[in-house]
C-alpha cells in the first residue's frame, strides 16, 4: 500500500491534526459501509489486531479490527497531546507515535529547532523509521504546524530537514499556519522568518494558511446561517467548519471550526490518491505541475463549497458557482486575491458527480479573467475524484501558484524588520547553543530573495510580446 505520513508538530499542528484524523475516519466510514479494510483506508490507517489485548500484528485485508493512524505527533508540551489521548481518538494512536516533553518551547524557534531538535533527533528518526517500516510505498510526508510559535515552527522545520536527509526521494508537503498581524506572540515574526528559510530550502510544497482567513470564513458561515437568508436549511455535516458526524462529542472549542477547514483541505488534497476517479491526481503530480522553479513552491489554496444546502438537486448553475467561488478572494485560505495577481500554475481537484465537460466549461469561462504567465497560458492541472466529501454532492479544491502570496511575505518581512532593527528580544535566541546573528541575517536574506523572485515575475506580467523563435530545420 502507499501512504502519506503526517507529522503534527506543536500545539496548532496537533489540534489541526486531531481534527484531520477525526474527519478522515468520518469520511471513510461514510464510504466504507461494510467495514472492510481497503486500499483507501490503508493510506492513512493501519489495521491492527488487538483482540488478544495490546498491539498485535498488522492485518492487511478483511474486516476492520482496530484502526491506527499512521502519524507522528510531536509536541514539547503535553496539554494538547494528552487531551487527544484521553479523548475519543485515544485508540487511534499509540505511545510509539508520540514524542512529547513538558516545558514547551517558550515561543522560541531556536529552542524548538536547535535545543529540542538536537535532543530528540534520534528518537524522532527511530520512530519515523519504525512507522515507515509498515509502509511498502511511502509517497509523501505532511507536516502540519504553525510558524509563529516555538515548537511547530522550530522543531517542525527541524523535522523537515530530517526527512530530507533520511528519505530524500519522498515528497515533503508542509501546511503552515502563518501568524496574523495582531498575533499575541510578540516574537512570531522572528519565528516565522527563521522557519521560512527552512521551508524555502527543504520543502517541496508549502500550503500557507492565515488565521485571519479562516476566521473570516467561519464568520461568513455564521452570518449566512443566522441571517435566515438561506431558503432551506444547511446540512450540518457539510459545513467545511463542522465536526458533526465525527467522533467528537465535546462541545466545539473556538478554534475547532477553523481547524476543521485546514483538516478538510488535507482530506481533499489526498482524496484522489485514496479514492478512484476518471482522472486521478496524485500528490507527486501536484508537486510536478505546480512548481515550475524549485523555490517558488508556495501554493494558495481555496475550498468550495463552504456548505451544502439540504435540497438535493444541484443545477449546473450552482456547480458553476462553485468554480467561480474558488477564485474569489473570500475563499482563499490566506489573505490574497489571486485574480488580480499573476498565475504561474493552477490545479483544480474536483470531487463528486462532476465530469470533464463541467471542468472544461468552467475553465473556458473563468480563463479570460485570470492572468497567467506568458509561458504557461494554459497552465491548468485537473483531477476528477468520484467520491465527494461527507455531506456534499461535489466539491472543489483549487491550488494556485500565484504571486498573490507576495503581500503575506512582504508583511512578514516588515514585522520582522521592526523588531530586528531594535534588536528586540534577540538575546532570547542568541543564547541558545548553535544560534548566531547570521541565522537571522541569512533567514531575512532568504525571504528577501524569495520576494524578489515574485517581484521579477510581476514586473513582466504582460510577458514578452513575441514568442521565442522556433528551431529552423534545413530542408
Amino acid at each position: 500500500t502507499r501512504m502519506s505520513l503526517p507529522f503534527a508538530v506543536g500545539q496548532c499542528g496537533n489540534q489541526v491534526g486531531c481534527r484531520f484524523w477525526d474527519l478522515a475516519l468520518r469520511e471513510h466510514a461514510a464510504v466504507n459501509k461494510k467495514g472492510i479494510y481497503d486500499e483507501a483506508l490503508s493510506s492513512f490507517f493501519r489495521n491492527v489486531d488487538t483482540r488478544s489485548g495490546g498491539d498485535g500484528p498488522d492485518i492487511y485485508k478483511g474486516k476492520i479490527c482496530s484502526l491506527k493512524a499512521r502519524a507522528l505527533l510531536i509536541d514539547m508540551e503535553e496539554g494538547v497531546v494528552n487531551e487527544i489521548l484521553q479523548g475519543p481518538l485515544r485508540d487511534v494512536f499509540d505511545s510509539k507515535q508520540l514524542i512529547t516533553d513538558v516545558s514547551g518551547s517558550g515561543n522560541n524557534w531556536a529552542v524548538g529547532h536547535k535545543l529540542y531538535g538536537y535532543q530528540y533527533q534520534e528518537d524522532i528518526v527511530e520512530k519515523l523509521r519504525k512507522t515507515a517500516e509498515h509502509c511498502d510505498c511511502l509517497q509523501c510526508f505532511f507536516i502540519i504546524h504553525s510558524m509563529g510559535g516555538g515548537t511547530g515552527s522550530g522543531l517542525g522545520t527541524f523535522v523537515l530537514n530530517l526527512l530530507e536527509d533520511e528519505f530524500p526521494e519522498v515528497y515533503r508537503f508542509v501546511t503552515s499556519v502563518y501568524p496574523s498581524g495582531e498575533d499575541d506572540v510578540i516574537t512570531s515574526p522572528y519565528n516565522s522568518v527563521l522557519a521560512m528559510k527552512e521551508l524555502n530550502e527543504h520543502a517541496d510544497c508549502v500550503l500557507p494558511i492565515e488565521n485571519e482567513s479562516l476566521f473570516d470564513i467561519v464568520n461568513k458561515i455564521h452570518q449566512m446561517i443566522n441571517s435566515g437568508k438561506l431558503g432551506s436549511t444547511v446540512k450540518q455535516n457539510s459545513l467545511v467548519t463542522s465536526s458533526a458526524g465525527s467522533a467528537k462529542t465535546v462541545q466545539e472549542k473556538p478554534f475547532d471550526a477553523m481547524n476543521n477547514i485546514v483538516a478538510n483541505l488535507l482530506l481533499n488534497l489526498t482524496s484522489s490518491a485514496r479514492f478512484e476517479g476518471s482522472l486521478n491526481m496524485d500528490l507527486n503530480e501536484i508537486s510536478m505541475n505546480l512548481v515550475p522553479f524549485p523555490r517558488l513552491h508556495y501554493l494558495v489554496s481555496s475550498l468550495t463549497p463552504l456548505y451544502t444546502l439540504a435540497d438535493v438537486n444541484v443545477p449546473s448553475r450552482r456547480l458553476d458557482q462553485m468554480f467561480s467561488d474558488a477564485f474569489s478572494k473570500d475563499h482563499q485560505l490566506i489573505q490574497a486575491d489571486p485574480k488580480h495577481s499573476l498565475y504561474l500554475a493552477c490545479a483544480l481537484l474536483v470531487r463528486g458527480n462532476v465530469q470533464v465537460s463541467d471542468l472544461r466549461r468552467n475553465i473556458e469561462r473563468l480563463k479570460p479573467s485570470l492572468h497567467f504567465v506568458s509561458w504557461n497560458q494554459e497552465g491548468w492541472k485537473t483531477g476528477l475524484c468520484s467520491v465527494p466529501p461527507v455531506g456534499h454532492s461535489h466539491s472543489l479544491l483549487a491550488l494556485a501558484n500565484n504571486t498573490c502570496v507576495k503581500p503575506t511575505f512582504i508583511e512578514l518581512k516588515d514585522r520582522f524588520m521592526k523588531l530586528y532593527k531594535k534588536k528586540a528580544h534577540l538575546h532570547h535566541y542568541l543564547h541558545i547553543d548553535g544560534m548566531e546573528q547570521s541565522c537571522f541575517s541569512e533567514a531575512i536574506s532568504s525571504l528577501s530573495d524569495l520576494i524578489e523572485e515574485y517581484n521579477e515575475l510581476d514586473a513582466v506580467k504582460g510577458g514578452p510580446r513575441t514568442d521565442p523563435s522556433r528551431l529552423k530545420i534545413a530542408v
Binding site: N284, M288, W375, L471, I473
Partner: protein
C-alpha cells in the same frame, strides 16, 4: 494473426477496456445484417485477432495492462470480468504504487528500466499464446507520466525484442487547455521517441472527440467514459475484420501489416489520423438511413478540408488543379487549407458496399506526387454491419491532418522551454536540456516534412 494490446497508464487502460467492450458488443450484437455464414466468419476472425480461448468460458483479451499505480487496473479488471462476455487474463497486468507523477522522465528513465524485465515477460507470455503474432497495439496518452514516458520506453523494448513485428501506437492527444500543465513537454518527448521505434502513430485528439460527444452524440454532461467510448467505436471500425482485397474470400489475417503497407510508405511520415462517420446517439440510429454515395462524399470532403467531424465541413475547399509542371513541394499551387495526403485507407462496413464508387478518393490531386494514386489509396470492406450502424465508413489517413496540432504542441512546449520552467523536474530523473533539444529537433523535422507535401 493476433494482435497483442498493451494498455499503458490510466488513459491507456480506460480506453483499452472500452475497445474490448466495443469489439465484443459488436460481435455479439444482432445487427450484423448479413448472412449467418458471414457473421460466423467475422466472429472467428475477430476472435483470432483479439481473444484467446482458454479453459474459461469467456474469451480472454490478448492484452497486457501496465500502470504505475494500482487503482485503475484493479477497476478495469473487475469491470471487465463482471461483463460476462469477456475478461482479461488475471496474470497479464503489472502495477506499482507510487505513480509517475506526470513526469515523463520518471516514467522513461526510472520506471522503465526498473520494471523492464517483468513487463516484457508479460508481453512475451501473451505473444506466445498467439498462434501467429500479428504485431502490437499500444494505447497511451501523451500528457501524463506513465503512458507517455513508460510507454515510450516499452515501445522501444518491443522494437528491440521483436524487431520484425509491427508496432502501432495509439496516442491520445490531451485537451488543449490542460489536463496536465507539463503535457506539452511530455508530448514532445513521447512523440520524438515513439517516432524512432514505432511503425505508425494513430492519433485521437480529446478536443475533437469531445466535440463529437457534444454536437453529434448530444451528450449533456460529457464524461471521460463518453469520450473513451467514441474512441473505442472508431478504433473498432478500423480493427474489426474486413476483406482487404477486391473479391477476397477470407477476412484479412494481418491487419497491422496491411495497415502499415498501405499507409506508411516512408518512415518519415508516421502520423495517422482517423475519421469515422456517421456518429450519432444510439436512439437516433433506428430513424436514420444513409447512402454510401452520401457518406463517401462527406468523408472525402472531410479529408481535403481537414474537418474533424461531419458537421461544419468547409465545402469551399477544393483540390488544386493538376496539369502544372511545378513539383508538388511548392505549396503555392494549393489553397492554404487544403489537406494533402500521402496515403489513405477507407473502410466500409455494411450491406451493398460492393457497388460503392470510390473514384473520388483516387483523384491524384489529393496526393503528393511521389506515389502512384493507385498505391496511395486502398479500400477495405465487409458487408457485415458494425456496432449497430447499418452503414459505417472510416478513413485512416496519412496526411496533413495532424500538422497543425503537432505544430501547436511543439510551439507551446518550446515557449515554455525558453523560460526553463519545470526543467528541474526532468533533470532530477536524468532527462537533460540536450534531450529536450533533440526531441524538438526531431519533431521540427517531422513538421517540416509534412508541411512541404
Amino acid at each position: 494473426m493476433s494482435i497483442v494490446t498493451v494498455q499503458l497508464g490510466q488513459c491507456g487502460n480506460q480506453i483499452g477496456h472500452e475497445v474490448f467492450n466495443a469489439i465484443c458488443s459488436d460481435v455479439h450484437g444482432t445487427h450484423g445484417l448479413c448472412s449467418k455464414k458471414e457473421n460466423e466468419s467475422y466472429h472467428d476472425a475477430c476472435q483470432e485477432r483479439f481473444f484467446s480461448e482458454e479453459e474459461s468460458e469467456v474469451p480472454v483479451a490478448r492484452a497486457v495492462l501496465v500502470d504505475m499505480e494500482p487503482k485503475v487496473i484493479s477497476q478495469t479488471l473487475s469491470i471487465a470480468a463482471r461483463s460476462g462476455y469477456w475478461k482479461y487474463d488475471n496474470r497479464s497486468h503489472f502495477c506499482q504504487k507510487q505513480g509517475s507523477g506526470n513526469n515523463w522522465a520518471n516514467g522513461y528513465s526510472v520506471h522503465g528500466p526498473r520494471h523492464k524485465e517483468v513487463i516484457m515477460n508479460l508481453v512475451q507470455r501473451e505473444a506466445e499464446k498467439c498462434d501467429r503474432l500479428g504485431g502490437f497495439f499500444t494505447i497511451m496518452s501523451m500528457a501524463g507520466g506513465t503512458g507517455s514516458g513508460l510507454g515510450a520506453f516499452v515501445t522501444q523494448c518491443l522494437r528491440d525484442a521483436f524487431p520484425t513485428s509491427f508496432i502501432l501506437n495509439h496516442v491520445i492527444w490531451p485537451y488543449g487547455t490542460g489536463e496536465v500543465i507539463v503535457q506539452n513537454y511530455n508530448s514532445v518527448l513521447t512523440l520524438s521517441h515513439l517516432y524512432q521505434s514505432s511503425d505508425a502513430l494513430l492519433v485521437h485528439e480529446n478536443d475533437v472527440i469531445h466535440k463529437i460527444c457534444a454536437q453529434l452524440m448530444n451528450i449533456k454532461q460529457i464524461s471521460f467514459r463518453d469520450v473513451n467510448q467514441v474512441i473505442a467505436h472508431q478504433l473498432g471500425s478500423v480493427f474489426q475484420p474486413t476483406y482487404t482485397a477486391e473479391g477476397g474470400l477470407h477476412y484479412s489475417r494481418n491487419p497491422l501489416g496491411d495497415l502499415m503497407e498501405t499507409l506508411v510508405p516512408h518512415p518519415e511520415f508516421k502520423m495517422l489520423g482517423l475519421r469515422n462517420i456517421p456518429q450519432m446517439p444510439e436512439n437516433s440510429l433506428a430513424y436514420s438511413t444513409f447512402s454510401w454515395p452520401g457518406l463517401i462524399k462527406h468523408l472525402r470532403q472531410m479529408l481535403i478540408a481537414n474537418a474533424k467531424m461531419e458537421e461544419g465541413i468547409d465545402w469551399q475547399v477544393r483540390p488544386p488543379r493538376l496539369g502544372s509542371s511545378i513539383p508538388s513541394s511548392h505549396s503555392m499551387n494549393k489553397p492554404l487549407h487544403f489537406n494533402t495526403s500521402i496515403a489513405n485507407l477507407v473502410i466500409l462496413r455494411g450491406k451493398d458496399m460492393h457497388s460503392v464508387d470510390l473514384g473520388s478518393f483516387r483523384d491524384p490531386s489529393l496526393y503528393t506526387s511521389w506515389l502512384n494514386p493507385q498505391d496511395a489509396f486502398n479500400a477495405w470492406k465487409t458487408p457485415r454491419a458494425f456496432n449497430k450502424y447499418e452503414k459505417s465508413a472510416s478513413l485512416v489517413s496519412n496526411s496533413q491532418f495532424l500538422l497543425k496540432p503537432l505544430d501547436n504542441v511543439v510551439g507551446k512546449a518550446w515557449n515554455m522551454f525558453a523560460s526553463k520552467a519545470y526543467i528541474h523536474q526532468y533533470t532530477k530523473f536524468g532527462i537533460e536540456e540536450e534531450d529536450f533539444l533533440d526531441s524538438f529537433t526531431a519533431l521540427e523535422q517531422v513538421i517540416s516534412s509534412y508541411t512541404i507535401l
